[in-house]
């Protein structure tokens, strides 16, 4: 009798685990609107430091302090975009200037 029930129990456990994971994702707003998603992200970010501290106390060792990175990818990207577009926009006038200078130089040589 146990051999007959075991597959059913296994299947029921699997369904419970998968269904529970799906329900947790739905309940915490991960599958909803973008506003709910950012709220959940904020809550998770706020919950990480206390959780990390708890784990550190439990295991009894200190994690090395995260080094302060002064580099901001956003600023770097923005300034990169601005510089490239500016360079593209001044290219025609710069090229024509250089061409004029080059032609003038050649004219001077042939005088």
């Amino acid at each position: 009798m146990a051999a007959k029930i075991l597959p059913v129990v296994k299947f029921a456990t699997k369904v419970t685990i998968a269904g529970g994971a799906l329900y947790v994702a739905y309940d915490s707003g991960l599958l909803g609107d973008s506003k709910e998603g950012s709220v959940t992200l904020g809550r998770a970010k706020a919950a990480i430091p206390p959780a990390v501290e708890e784990w550190m106390k439990y295991f009894g060792f200190e994690l090395p302090a995260t080094p302060k990175i002064e580099f901001s990818p956003l600023d770097a990207w923005n300034s990169g975009v601005q510089k490239s577009i500016h360079a593209l926009s001044v290219t025609p006038s710069t090229v024509s200037d250089y061409t004029k200078q080059g032609l003038q130089y050649v004219k001077d040589l042939t005088k």
């Binding site: 994702a25 998603g37 959940t40």
Partner: protein, 76 residues
Amino acid sequence: MSEKEFGQKWDRCLADCAVKFGTGLGLGIVFSVVFFKRRTWPIVFGTGLGLGMAYSNCQNDLRSRYVLHSKVAKEQ
């Protein structure tokens, strides 16, 4: 749509993309391990579902300014 509002919407879009990608990946892994004998396709499917949900949310969010919203008047 003002520049500021547009920027906020894009920020929300990207954050939502990351959240849904992670959720889809996680749920795909759970389903793959539990039901499908650790095959790869449920993971890819879940990730794709997550990205698709994020895309759809982004689309609705960016279009919401220009969509007419109406209310059905109750019959009296």
